[in-house]
Every structure is written in structure tokens, then in C-alpha cells.
Symmetry: C2
Subunit: 101 residues, 2 copies
């Protein structure tokens, strides 16, 4: 439990928030990234607080740092970043969390 | 399920990251805020990504917007913000997430 890493990213798309293109990006992201071994509890999120400017989020759990690194280097992840993320995401913020107490 | 809101905040403290004062703030936050009705799955987090500058996080779930608003207005929350948060937190970012797909 203590080693678990929750990797999250908040982001905005060049597409309108509720457009079919946005839904397609979110769906494709989920369908692609959940194929990668070690990805657990994948969530597609909308960010609804007015206290920041991000619209969307992905969240996933890794059992340890090795699983996280394998994900980062996996060809499906690399291809998604190069072919979709860089083309459609306008800004983002990455976060990694572990239990502190 | 669809209504559930995950409220998160990332923050830094004026205390050193691993100091007893930091641990006390995190512990007091957990012990105080988890007393408030409607607060579920409270987590005390450390933020370990080098891609942002925050050190800590709190995460909690609310079943709906009404539970979230009741938390915001609860005297224990208001007192914690006024007496501890404003005195010990140097910067923070709030986020609220719902399931998108």
C-alpha cells in the first residue's frame, strides 16, 4: 500500500469542453492507456473547481516506481503522447501522490 | 457514483518538508477534517513528482455537492482554515474532480 503511486494529470484540450472531439480524446486515452500493464484504477475526470483553470484529468495507480517507469516507456504511452497529447492538449499539470500518513 | 466529488488540494508549508511541525500539521488536518460529516476516503498525501513544486496533498470524497458545501461551512473546517491553514500554508492549489466517462 505504502508504495502505491497515484499519477494524475490535469489538462485542457484545443477542443471545446463538451465537443465530440473532446469526448473522443478522453475515450481514446482511456482505451489506449488502460492496455498498458501495471495501470490500475484508471479514471477519466472532469475538473469542476472554479479555483483552477483545468477542464479534464486522468488518474491512475501504480503499485510501485518500476510499474510507473514501465508505463512511461511503453510504446502505447509514447505513441499516445506523440500522436495525440502533443497535438490536442494545450496545457497540463502532472502530479504524483503517495500516502503520507 | 456519478455525483461523487473528489476534492483535492496540493500545498506547501512554511515548515521543512520532513519536520515534526509538518507532520503535526498533516496529522491535525486529518484528525480535524475527518470529524466533519460527509467527508469520505480522506487521504494525506505527499506529492513526489518533480514536474510541480507542491509537497503535500489532502484528498477526500463527497457524495454530492450538498455534502461538499456542508463541509466548507462546517465550524471545524472554518476554524482549521483560519487558525492553521492561513498560518502555516505558503501556497496551494485546489481541484475538484468528477468521473467524466
Amino acid at each position: 500500500m505504502k508504495q502505491d503511486i497515484r499519477h494524475m494529470v490535469m489538462f485542457n484540450l484545443k477542443h471545446d469542453r463538451h465537443s465530440p472531439q473532446a469526448i473522443k480524446f478522453l475515450t481514446d486515452g482511456k482505451n489506449t492507456l488502460t492496455q498498458i500493464p501495471g495501470v490500475k484504477q484508471f479514471e477519466v475526470l472532469t475538473q469542476i473547481s472554479a479555483k483552477n483553470d483545468y477542464h479534464f484529468g486522468f488518474s491512475m495507480m501504480f503499485e510501485n516506481q518500476a510499474a510507473y517507469e514501465a508505463y512511461n516507456q511503453h510504446p502505447l504511452h509514447v505513441a499516445f503522447v506523440n500522436e495525440r497529447w502533443k497535438a490536442e492538449v494545450t496545457r497540463f499539470l502532472e502530479m504524483d501522490f503517495q500516502q503520507a500518513l
